[in-house]
Every structure is written in C-alpha cells, then in structure tokens.
Subunit: 413 residues, 3 copies
Amino acid sequence: MGSKYPPSMRCCLPLWTLVLEAALIVIFFFFTSYDTSSQDPKKLTGTFRVLQDVTIMVALGFGFLNSSLRRYGWSSVAFNLFLLALGVQWAVLMDGFLEQSFRKKVVIKLSSIKLATMSAMSVLISAGAVLGKANLLQLTLMALVEVTVFVTMRMIDRQHLSMDGHLSMMHIHVFATYFGLMVAWSLSRCLNERVMEEKNQTAKSSSLFAMLGTLFLWMFWPSFNSALLDVPKERKNAVFNTYYALAASAVTAISMSALARPRGKINMTHIHNAILAGGVAVGPSCHLITTPWLAMLLGFMAGLISIGGALCLPANFNHVLGIHDTCGVHYTFGLPGLLGGIAYILLIIYEVSWIKKSVYQLFVGTGTLSLAVASGLIAGVLTGLVLNLKICKAPHAAKYFDDQAFWEVRFLT
Amino acid sequence: MGSKYPPSMRCCLPLWTLVLEAALIVIFFFFTSYDTSSQDPKKLTGTFRVLQDVTIMVALGFGFLNSSLRRYGWSSVAFNLFLLALGVQWAVLMDGFLEQSFRKKVVIKLSSIKLATMSAMSVLISAGAVLGKANLLQLTLMALVEVTVFVTMRMIDRQHLSMDGHLSMMHIHVFATYFGLMVAWSLSRCLNERVMEEKNQTAKSSSLFAMLGTLFLWMFWPSFNSALLDVPKERKNAVFNTYYALAASAVTAISMSALARPRGKINMTHIHNAILAGGVAVGPSCHLITTPWLAMLLGFMAGLISIGGALCLPANFNHVLGIHDTCGVHYTFGLPGLLGGIAYILLIIYEVSWIKKSVYQLFVGTGTLSLAVASGLIAGVLTGLVLNLKICKAPHAAKYFDDQAFWEVRFLT
Amino acid sequence: MGSKYPPSMRCCLPLWTLVLEAALIVIFFFFTSYDTSSQDPKKLTGTFRVLQDVTIMVALGFGFLNSSLRRYGWSSVAFNLFLLALGVQWAVLMDGFLEQSFRKKVVIKLSSIKLATMSAMSVLISAGAVLGKANLLQLTLMALVEVTVFVTMRMIDRQHLSMDGHLSMMHIHVFATYFGLMVAWSLSRCLNERVMEEKNQTAKSSSLFAMLGTLFLWMFWPSFNSALLDVPKERKNAVFNTYYALAASAVTAISMSALARPRGKINMTHIHNAILAGGVAVGPSCHLITTPWLAMLLGFMAGLISIGGALCLPANFNHVLGIHDTCGVHYTFGLPGLLGGIAYILLIIYEVSWIKKSVYQLFVGTGTLSLAVASGLIAGVLTGLVLNLKICKAPHAAKYFDDQAFWEVRFLT
C-alpha cells in the first residue's frame, strides 16, 4: 500500500486540467454558436443515431478493450473517458477553426460532434500503446497535440489532395498507431523487463471486461465505417463489407490463435485484438468493394496478419527497437490499417487499368497513406520528447501499470 | 454462511408480489386497451428507438451503477430489474387513470410506455439511497407509493401550473433524491457504524461493473433529456447541450476528485457519480440554452458541486441527521438537480428581463421545483414510516448490505 | 496447470476451420453478389437498426448469458462469437440457395443478413445445452448441420404449409432446444457426476456477467419478436406485447424463485433464465394479441413454468434420461417456446370459432410446431452420433467445463 507517489501530481495535474476546461468554456463562449438553420428532423435523427453508435464504440468499446491489465483496469476505463470528453471538445474547435474561416464564429452542427468524436478516437487508439506508462497530464497533452495534428492532416487531405472525408478518416488507424508507438517508445526506454512482466498480466474477469469492449467494437464497427458516407449505395456497401470482413476475421483469428501455439491453445489477448482486424482492414475501401468475397478475403488476411503480428512483433520488432506496446495497438490497428491502405491502392490500380479511371486517384491514395504514416511518426516522436520533459512529472517506472498510483484503493483484493 | 434469515420472508414476499402481479393482470384486463389508431410508421420507429434508449438506461445503467457494493452486487442488479418491471406496469396505469378520464378504458400507446419507463426511473434513483437496508417487499411498497406520488405531482404540474411535460419530468432527480433520502433516514436509524463500514465496501471488479452502468447512463443521457421534446429544434438543442454538459462534467469530476484528496489520488466512487452530474444539471433548461458554453459551464459547476457534496455530505450532513445514503444519491442526482432547477429559474429571469417574457413563467418554475422537493420530502417520510411497520418484516441491521440474506450462494468466493 | 490436452486438436481444429473459412470465401466468390437495386434509404436505415439490435442480442446477450460457469467464461463468450460469425455466413448461403433458385447467383440484401443472424441464433441456443462438453470442431460441425436443418425446416414451413416467415422463425426456440438437448444427451453419457458438480459452479462476478447478457436479451427482445413483421400495426402489437410479457415474467420469476426455495432465497441461475421466458412464450402470437393482459398472462405463466422447470427438470427428467443441460436451455427456451406454440394454437382456435377464420390455419399451426419439435429431435440425435465419432476427437470428460483445455492461462487466479 505504501506506494510512493509523486506529490507534485496533487497540485499539478488537477489544476492544469481544471484550468484547461475553464479555458475551453471561454473559447466556446467567444468563438462558437449552435447551428440554427432548420434541418430535416428525420436526417437529424439519423445523424444522432450514428453519433450514438460511435459514442458507444469510443466510450465503452475502447474503454473496456484495454481493461484487461490486471492492475490497471480502473485507469484504462476512466482515463479513456477523460481523454474522450476532452478530445471531443478540442476536436470540435480544431475542426471548426481549420474548416471554416477564422473570421466568423464556428457553427456547431450535430455532424461536427460526430466528426469530432471520430477524431478523438485517434487519441484512444494511441493511448492503448502508452497506457500504464504515462500520467493523466501526459495523456492530456498527448490528446491535445494528437487531435490537432490529425485534424490538420485531414484538412490537408481534403483541401490539397481533394480526398473525401471518409478516406482521410479511415487512415486514423495507421496514423494513431504510429503516433502512439513513437510516444510509447520515448516513455518505455527505462522499463524494467521483470517488473513489467509481472504487472502486465491479465486477470480472468478483466479479460471478460476486455471481451465486452471488443464485442461492442465488433458490433458497431459497421456504423463507424459507414458514418461519413452520404450516398445510400456506398453506405449500404460499407455496412455489408464491414459485416462480412468482421465475420471472416473473427473465425480466422480464433482458428489461427489455436494453430500458432503449441498444444493448440488459444490466447485470449490475441482474440481481443485480432477479431477487430477485419473492420480496420476493410475501412478505406468498404464503399468501393461490390462483392462479399473480397471483403471476406480482406478480413481473412487481416486476421492472419494480426495474429502473426501478435506472435512476432512483441518478441522481435518491439524488443529490438525498445518499444513497449501495452495493448498491442500495432497489430490491432496498425498492420490491418496498412493492409487496408494497400488494398485501397490495389483496388484503384485495378479500376485505373480496367475501368480507365484517372491515374490521379492512385497518387492521391498513395499520398494520403504515406502522409498518415509519416505525420504519425514525426508528431509522435516530437510529442514523446515533450512528454519526457521534467515539467510533466512522469511516474517512476516502478509505478507503471499500477492503479494504486492514481486511485484510492481501500479494499483488500 | 449460517445467516439467520427471517423465515417470514418465505411466505410473505413472494406471495405478495405474485398476488400483485395477478392483480395487475386483472386490472389491465378491465381497464386498458391498446391504441388501435393507425400511426405514421416512421414516427412509431422513432418513439420505439427512444423507448429502447431509456430502457437501456434504466435496466442496465441504473442496475449496474449501484452494483459496486462488495457483497450486494446481485441484489442491486436484480432488484433494480424487478422494481423497473413492476414500476412500469404501475406507472402506465397511474398515468392513464390520472390523465385520461376514469370513464373509459385507458388507451396504451408506445409513448405512454416511454413515459411510464421514465416515471419508474424515480424508483430506481430512490432505491440507490435505500439499497441494502430494505427487503424486496419494502422496495415493492416504496415503488408503488413513489410512482403514484410522482405521477400525481406531474399531473398537478401539468394541469394546475400549465407546465410542459419535459420540465415536470426533469424534476424527477430532485423528487426521487429527497424521497429516497427520507426513506433511508427512517431505515438507517439503528445502523451499526462499524458493520456498515465493513460491508459497504467496493471491490475491484464490482467497480468496473459500476463503471459500465455509469458509461451507459453517460452515453444515453442525451436521449433521456430529449425524450419528451417534440419540436425538432428544441430536441436538437437538448441533445447538443446534454452532450456538452456531460463532457465538461466528466473532465471536471476526474480533475476535482484528484485535487480534493491528499496525494492527488482519484476516488472511483466519486467518479461513478460525478460524471453524470452534468446531464442532471442541464436537464430542465437543455431545450432553452442556445450556446454551448452555457451548457459546459453548467456541467463544470455540476461536477464541482457533486464532488464537493461527495466529500462533505457523508461526513457532515448525513452523519448529523443520521441518514445513510448507500450509493450517494444526494450528490449524484440531488444537488445537480437543484442546480439545474435554479439554473432554469435564472434563465427565465434573464428572459423575463431581456426578452420581456411573462413573469408568470418564473413563478411556475419556482413553484414546480419547490413542489418536487416538498412532495419528495413529505411522501418519503410517510413511506418510511409505513416501511418500518412490523408487517414489512424488515431485515435485521446486521443483515444489511449482504447478498446472502436474499440469494442462494453456493460458491466459495 | 498440467492439463493433458489432446494434441490432435493442434493440427485438427484450426486447420479445418481455416479451410472452411477459405472454402466459404470461394463459394461466396462463385455464387453470390450484392443487391444493387436502389432502395429507399430510410427503409435501409430501419433494416440496419433491426439488424444491429439482433446482432447485439446474439453476440453480446447469448455470449454472456452462458458465461456464469466458474471456469468456462472465456470459452462461452469466444466460442459464441465464433459460432455466430460462422453461422451467419453459412445461413446466408443456405437461405439463398433454398429460397432463390440455384441457377442464378444468390443476391445478398441487408434483410438476408438479418434473417441469417436470426437463423444463426438457433446454434447459440443449442450451444447452451452442449457448452463445456464439446470442443470447437464439434461445435463447428453442429453449427453447420443445425443451420442447414433449420433453414430447410423454415423453407418447408413457407413453401408447403404457406406459413409466414415470422411464425416459422418463432419456432426457433423449440427447435434449437430439442436439437441441443439431443446433442447434449449423446455427449453427456460418460459424465462423472462429482467432477461435473465441482466444475459446473457459478462465481460471483461471472454471475454479474451472465446478468449483463440476460439484460441485453431482455431489453432487445421486442426488436427480435418484431424483426420479421412488415405491417406497421402488427409490428406495434409485437413490441407492446413482448414488452408486457417480459415485464410480467421478470416480476414472476423473481417472486417464484424465492417462493420455491426453503428460507425464501432467490437462485441467481433461475433468474437469468426465467426472466426471458415471457419474451419466448409471447413470440409466436405477439402480432395477434390485441390486449395487454393476455401478453402479461402469457409472461406470468411462462415465468411459472420456467421456474418450475428449473426446479424439477435437472433432478428428474434430465437425470433419468441422462441428459446434462449445461445452461438450462430446456426451461429457458424449450418449455416457454412450447407454451408459446400452444398459446398460438389456442388463439387460432378462438379465432376459428368466433371470427369464422379458416380451420386450415389451425392445422398449419399444429403442424409447424410438431415439425419444429420433431426435426429438432431427429436432427439432434443424428448430429450427436456424428459428433461422437473418433474423427472429432472429443475432449475427455475430465476436461469438461474447463477453460484451461482451450485457453492459454498464465495468471494465478
């Protein structure tokens, strides 16, 4: 119980976040107003439903997805909500400032909250790699930077590469993964292998909570992939394809996990991550694919890659580079996201050669994917440097992965 | 294991509730019929969606919100469902009898089930204060009385104060809190401090269940606050404002909880309660507020007040008055509800002085809030007296907060 | 820890399922295409919502409903998802082949995925009886056979008995129960009573997970019962009646469970099962009932029967016949399903004698119910025989109900 917790946290963190929240209120006072144009009430209800689905995914799905750490369940759920609540407010402002002109007030619509919630998801993905190694102040800083960079990247995609909103959003997985990995890299340098091993375990009922989060993500992923598509036909395709890709990746992930291990035993952590891989991989091209088998094939391959990554990456890649990826973000979102980006490019190549579409589209596809990876890497390294500054009062490595560093724990278990 | 459980429970409780259910069926047989008018199918779907959101909030959200007690998890979830199922049936009848005339049959529409579910929520809020100190028969009695009083209060609001349905529903938090506190007061007089302290603890995985309930309430609160608004613009405002208030109160609650404690550690129980405060506080005025900053300010203040209440109330107010508020209903719903009522009155004052609205509205606003507090207090005291009668066979104080008094427990943990 | 797990699993199971998934992709490549006809986007959204509700029920509700076994929580949730993902793909193909002609490609609509998800539910119901006694390969085989038989049965209902889709779907509970019981019978012959007793226990937090699953089923059952009804009035009736039946059965189940036991203690496992009985029983006639009391009466009786079955069946019926029904499928879905089928026939008799409806409808009602029971029994016995073949490498009875046989378990608890 006698955990020696940096006392600076006491005055530092809560004051900063309270001041930040007050500052946000002031900024909203000066720079925003609600959309007062009369809208079709039915369209409003539709947008509200999609917003709610996405909210369920980010608040509940991501919150519990990462809760399987034995001693870090509370922090992962509560910090996830904190980052979400903060990230949404910040992303609404950023989106407004960058999209609309600076001269007049930012007009907030229901769809801009939807967009902001999706942008805030980038923080939650990255947090999965950093979890347990950063205090709340560091996570807050990371959220502000990451949302800003991600919104800027999407603006560049849209304005300079004339990319549609859906595709630039679907690169969120790749961007957020590499951002998170770079931040984790800068925080995990002094990590004691033995301590980490002991604390970074899962518990039986925690794993069921993580499964709950995974299931919510699995069930609502079709909503996420179709959230930014307005054409009914594209929307329908997106729902179909995501559904099939998820079904295929669930079957593949469970089979592969048993195949990969001696004695054929399945690894629960792999399952949490790999059954979602299909939804990630099909994201960028989900509105273009017109046959179920292609979506299923993508889901199949995503499941293979994700389980393969789960087996190889922690031991080789991450160990050599010194990156400790707490929740396996790299093989949950990163590799399937890359697969999805490449699949989109292949699909465009096919369309260019057969349907004589413009080659320009191909350059744009390659460009946005590279931009997502590059901006994630660069912004991640810079953010990691900032978070290592003394002013952030990072927790000591011995306190990593421990709820007791942040929470009043009065019970015996 | 050898818990000495009052054997009277055996013959008393189940027979009463079975007879009650049979009586309800007979009453429905004589006095109700379905609405057979043909409705717009799209409007029907919309109402059904809102009903489902509210059902998720009450069945799941409230069920798990109060499940963090170490030895009382089963009871809180199952009794919650029992009270909900009973309360909805009773509220449909009461609503029908009081609103429509007694001469003809009560016509049940989908919207009347929605209304009844929201009325039944008052029982679930009050049950949070009483939980662990009453047996199921007492809770059943409480449910019947509370729903009757609440529906009557809303009818007075509507018919004599010409209040709209939304506002009179939004006083549910204040009414139910003071009703529950008064009942808890009459049941907690002989409470042994030490026993209570030992049993009234939270466990690690229980806290995650409570967090799950909290998250469901947090996510669906916009649906609750906009459920009774028919004008699309008011509805949109309600969704916007609730969303912002909840985001602000989540950030504030987590920050404040760390700031308030020595060594800056966050208290999980505070978080469960305080992140919802924003939604409660913005309720009465959510359709009138036209700028995000005002909703965020309300959420910010609600978070402060709720955490402040969590720190001061149990030690001072409740201890002096001898009220044991099991799940902190007073600072989760009571204080933010009062703040919301006052905010509504201030908003009306502003409108009266600037937009030259009728002063009558101001009197009505003050009147309904006072009525909610007063009827909650009075009906709570009377109900508490009835529940203390011998006929109810209240559990002995040593059996408080213990699942074993009500459940067959065969496992070792 | 030193569990001796059949090594054959290693090469056998994952390869088979991977090959199966690959084969499915190939079949989809040759035989299916998406529906490209332009649809009303609003109807599309409506279908999508219903699909999502049903998905929540099957993935989350059934997954966690059966998770209360102390050592089998992981398997029940993950295998449930696996069977769902596989079953949906297979059911879409079967539905397409049997309904549409074989000559042209199967056209996949959003509504065919909805139908397939509902058909796949039959596997999840049956799996409740078999759970813990079969490995994943056996469950996979069972899923393929059961979906095929169920889809064929529904086609016979529709084409030869001119039954509507709703009613033939509502016999899913009866069909799946008797199918599952027969399979469980053939697998549980060599079951050691003592070992089973020890492992087949519930744990405290597992029970809360099971309650979570139950609540999700409870909340979304109105969506399930109205999913295949297109006439708005019938749809409304279905929602109303299911809602009331569920409310009545929840109250009845909790009361009865306390009444039935010495000392009036409630049994958690009974609650999980019996509060859903109302929804099952009202299924076949939910669109015909026009008064709430009838639905409530059905719910009341279903609660009584379900609790009665829970008390008598395991000790008498199952024990004598040597059937071990792991999760009580017989009294959760079987008996209430039979009650529902009989209630439908009585309702038709009433209509025949009073409203002078055709007697033909009566024969059809009796015929489909008998067909469901008979085909469930016969197909179940045959499937059970196949699953007992050496090729399936069934786990040894000592490994029943144990997560460690299938999962990498590295933690201490």
